[in-house]
Symmetry: C2
Subunit: 208 residues, 2 copies
DNA sequence: GATGGAGTGGACCGCAGGGTCCACTCCGTC
DNA sequence: GACGGAGTGGACCCTGCGGTCCACTCCATC
């Protein structure tokens, strides 16, 4: 069915997904009803069920996929080119800024929580996102190696995995407390420790 | 009202909270209804509303408080005595094991998500938990300093904050993907980096 | 053994909100 | 300009579930 959509149809479907994403970000998954989405997107029930025959859950999955795309898109300018310590610093700032702005709403997290992470398709969304993210970080570390800023024997995968966990943890604490201090600390410490791999004489942590 | 409960009343209230916690862990917040809790705890609606006059949300807050207590209680034997690298390793194992067992259910997270983190009382639950947790980690680092295993100029607070974020991130990835690799990597890397503060000649990461 | 309040049982209510249905319009094709 | 299928509108249905209510029991106190 997805492939057979008219241009008009595709536009409507897209309008629904993006509008739903808006509403969901504003009110949260729990509080958002189909009627809210309908009102926001100027659509009728029949349209919604026309494009998402299995109803709300199918819509939420579509929105989750959309939001997952956003995460990397938002940091792409920096994430794709982590080949100097300055680039890493800029990326760090971008991440912190992005999540500070976002405040205590985690669109993707809430969605997945509501749908259930266990269903294969759903879990694939987040595992795919995390994998890509971590690969970008690993590529960044290798770029540092290529630029002779890091020695070749750094355990790239472990560093990348730990870095990703640091971000996730910082974000999750930001979501719970509203404070971005941990996100900053985690990123700063991780980057500082990574940097020490290349220069053991460095200070132990960057100043806040 | 809380103070005026009979022994019998307190027992019932407690039975409800603990039973609810069980059901919530098994089915998740979204899928759990009051009737489920009632059935599990062999209680009637009137009792539930007798002890939690504002209904479901009040019950969930009580359960959240209960679960928050559990988190630290579960690691207390290790968390209170982080005065050697071996103790840190044992604690690491305990954390990994605990969260691997728990699987992809995060009782506290789901609860708070459902209730909303913005209400003052609710946010206090998680901020309090995180603060205590981080203080224990900081105390552990200071214990290492006292034992001359770490120099005195380590930035204890940043290290502790980053460590806490690492755990949270690892757990949150475990919840999403079902894999504990990131949790392990994050903890190992964090501890290894911390350890390098005391011995710069050490290898860059512990082997998995 | 009367009194009253805490504790308990469960029938019942109200409605939000997901999902169905059918009638309609729009537009490309012949 | 008839035909048909995609696209649209919105009334309606129905269940699940949070919450209310009242009748009852249990037990401490006098």
């Amino acid at each position: 069915m997805r492939g057979e959509l008219t241009a008009k149809g595709r536009a409507t479907r897209r309008r629904i997904v993006e509008g739903a994403a808006e509403v969901l970000r504003e009110r949260g998954v729990v509080a958002t009803t189909l009627d809210d989405v309908l009102a926001r997107t100027r659509t009728s029930k029949s349209q919604l069920f026309h494009y998402f025959p299995s109803g709300k859950d199918e819509l939420l999955v579509a929105v989750a996929r959309f939001e997952a795309g956003q995460v990397l898109a938002d940091q792409e300018p920096h994430l794709g080119r982590l080949d100097s310590w300055e680039a890493w610093a800029r990326w760090r700032d971008a991440v912190v800024e992005r999540y500070e702005e976002q405040g205590d709403q985690c669109p993707l997290g809430s969605l997945l929580h509501r749908i259930g992470r266990t269903t294969p398709g759903t879990r694939a969304i987040v595992t795919g996102l995390l994998r890509t993210w971590q690969e970008s970080l690993a590529a960044g570390i290798r770029a540092l190696q290529a630029a002779d800023l890091l020695p070749g024997d750094v355990d790239v995968e472990t560093r990348a995995a730990a870095l990703l966990a640091a971000i996730q943890g910082g974000v999750s604490i930001l979501l719970s407390t509203g404070e971005s201090g941990h996100l900053r600390a985690a990123l700063d410490q991780s980057i500082a420790d990574l940097r020490r791999d290349g220069d053991p004489a460095r200070p132990r942590a960057t100043a806040g």
